[in-house]
Amino acid sequence: MKERVTLDHPKEKISKQHLTEEWVGKIYTWLCIIVLIVTIFSMVYFVASRGLTTFFRGVNVWEFISGLRWQPDAKPPIFGALPFIFGSFSTSIMAALIAAPLGFCAAIFMTEIMPKYGRRYLQPVIELLAGIPSVVYGFVGLSIIVPFLRDTFPGQGLGLAAGAIVLSIMILPTITTIATDALSALPGGLKEGSYALGATRWQTIYRIVLPTTFPALMTGVVLGISRAFGEALAVQMVIGNAPFLPRSLFDSTSTLTSVITLSMGNTVMNSPHNNALWSLALILMLMTFVFVFIVRWLERRTKI
C-alpha cells in the first residue's frame, strides 16, 4: 500500500523550505547584480584612467580634441584627434540621414499600407540585415560600393561616402524595427478620428501618425547613430584610413573606431601612442553615454 504524503503545518515556525528558497533567490540576484555593477564600473574606470593618462602627461585636452595632425611617431609625438572625431560624427550622421527616410517609409508600408505582406515578407528580410556580420558588410562595401564610387566620382572610392553608405545599410534594421513598433503601437482611435473628419490616408500619415510617433522615431534614429558611431570593422574596410580631415565626400579619412582597431596592435602598453588610443576610446565611451541619455530623454517624451 502506498503511504499517504502529509504536509506539515507548523503553527508558529516559518517554514524552513520557504526560508531557504527565499534566501537562495535573493542571494543569487544580488550576486548577479553586484557582478554586473562591478563590471560596468571597472570598465568605465579602466577606460577613463588609461584615457586620462595622456592628459596628465602633458597633452592639452583642447589641443587633443581640436588638433588636426595625428603623428604618433614624430619626436615629440603630436596627437590631434579632430579628423577622427569629425570622421565618426560625419559618417554616423550621414548614415542616419540616408537610412532614416528609408526606414520610416518601410515602417509606414508595413503598418499602414500593406500590413499583411509587409509583416510577412519585408520585416523578416530587414531583420535579416541586422544579423549579417559587419565584416560581410565591409567586404560588400569594398567590392561594390567602393568601385562604383571610384568610377562615378573623383577620388579612389575609399572614403567618407563609402563609409556612410555601408553604415546606413547596417543601421537600417534598427531604425525600421523601432519605427514599425512605434507606428503599430499608435492607438487606432487616433487614425479613425482623422479618417472620420474626411482626411485621406496620406493626410492622416503626415498630420497624425508621424507627429504623434516622432519622439519614438527619433529614438530609433539616435540608436542607429549610436550603433554607427561604435561600428569599427566595416567602416575601417572602406573609409581609406588617412589621418586627415577629408576635403570632399569622396576623400579618404578615419574614424575614432577605425584608428583604434588599426593601431592598437602596433603600440606598447603605456607608451604615449597607446595612451592616446585610450583617450580616443574614452571619447567614444562618453559619446555613447550622451546617446543613451538622448534616447532616455526621448522615451520620456513618448509617453501619452
Binding site: 479613425e192 482623422s194 474626411g198 498630420r207
Partner: protein, 251 residues
C-alpha cells in the same frame, strides 16, 4: 419631416459572414435616431456604413444602397472624404489628438481648405460653442487636449466634428465611457444639436434611447426588427421580440 437617409436592402458581409441582412428603413433629418439592440446585433456596423468607415476593414462588402439626401453613398463616383466631411462621427472612447485644444478643432477645416488665422479662430470658437465647451476652455486653447476630463474630451471630439460643417452626426455609444454628469451634458447637447444636425446614435442604454431620441430602431441578428417613433416603440411595440428586449427579458 424630410428624409435624410434612405436605406434600401442594405447587406454587409465580413468575408462570408453576413452581418447586415437586407435593411430597409429611413432616417428623418434634424432629429435624433437611436439604434438599440444586444451586442453583436449589427447596430455599430450599420452606423459605420453611414460614413463608410467600414471601408477600412479588409474583406467587407456592401450590397444595396444608402441614399443620403437622394445620392447613393455606395455609388462608385462617391468621394469618400467629402462624404465623411458631411457625416461627422464621435466614437465610444474619446479620441482627441495629442495636440492643443485649438489644433484639435482646427484639424478638420485645415484638411479641406486654406483658411487664414482669423477665419480659423472663428471656426474654432463657433465649434467649441456649438459643443458647449467654449466657456470651459476659452482661456486654455493652447493646452494639450489630453489634459481635459473624459467628458470634456468627448465634447471636444464633438466640436472637432462640427468644425467641418457636417449635416449628420453619428455617435457610436459616445457616452458609455463617461460618468453620469458628463453623459447628461452630452445628452443635453444632442438635444440642442438636433436643431441643425441629423443625429444617429448607437446606445446600449435603453433609458438613454427613451430619454433622448425621436425615433428608435431595434436591431437583432443583423436585421431591423422594428423602427418607429420612440414613444410608440417603447410603450406599444408591434413586435414581440422588441417587447422582450425593452422589458429586459434578453440582451
Amino acid at each position: 419631416m424630410q428624409t435624410k437617409y434612405e436605406i434600401n436592402d442594405l447587406k454587409l458581409y465580413y468575408g462570408d459572414f453576413m452581418a447586415l441582412k437586407g435593411l430597409n428603413f429611413s432616417i428623418p433629418e434634424k432629429s435624433i435616431t437611436a439604434l438599440i439592440g444586444p451586442s453583436g446585433c449589427g447596430k455599430s456596423t450599420f452606423l459605420r456604413t453611414l460614413n463608410r468607415m467600414n471601408d477600412m476593414i479588409a474583406g467587407t462588402r456592401v450590397e444595396g444602397e444608402i441614399l443620403l439626401s437622394g445620392d447613393n453613398i455606395y455609388a462608385p463616383s462617391t468621394d469618400v472624404e467629402q462624404l465623411r466631411k458631411r457625416v461627422g462621427m464621435v466614437f465610444q472612447q474619446p479620441n482627441p489628438f495629442p495636440k492643443s485644444i485649438y489644433e484639435n478643432v482646427a484639424f478638420g477645416p485645415r484638411l479641406h481648405q486654406k483658411l487664414d488665422r482669423k477665419q480659423l479662430n472663428e471656426v474654432v470658437e463657433r465649434s467649441l460653442r456649438g459643443a458647449s465647451l467654449w466657456d470651459e476652455v476659452k482661456d486654455d486653447l493652447n493646452k494639450n487636449a489630453m489634459g481635459l476630463s473624459g467628458g470634456q474630451q468627448q465634447r471636444l471630439c464633438i466640436a472637432r466634428a462640427l468644425a467641418v460643417d457636417p449635416d449628420v452626426l453619428l455617435m457610436d455609444e459616445s457616452t458609455s465611457a463617461l460618468d453620469p454628469i458628463s453623459t447628461l451634458k452630452i445628452e443635453e447637447l444632442a438635444q440642442e444639436l438636433k436643431e441643425k444636425y441629423t443625429i444617429v446614435m448607437v446606445t446600449h442604454n435603453m433609458h438613454q434611447a427613451a430619454r433622448v431620441s425621436d425615433q428608435t430602431v431595434f436591431f437583432l441578428n443583423g436585421e431591423v426588427i422594428e423602427a418607429d417613433q420612440t414613444g410608440q416603440l417603447f410603450s406599444n411595440p408591434s413586435d414581440k421580440r422588441t417587447e422582450e428586449y425593452i422589458t429586459g427579458r434578453f440582451g
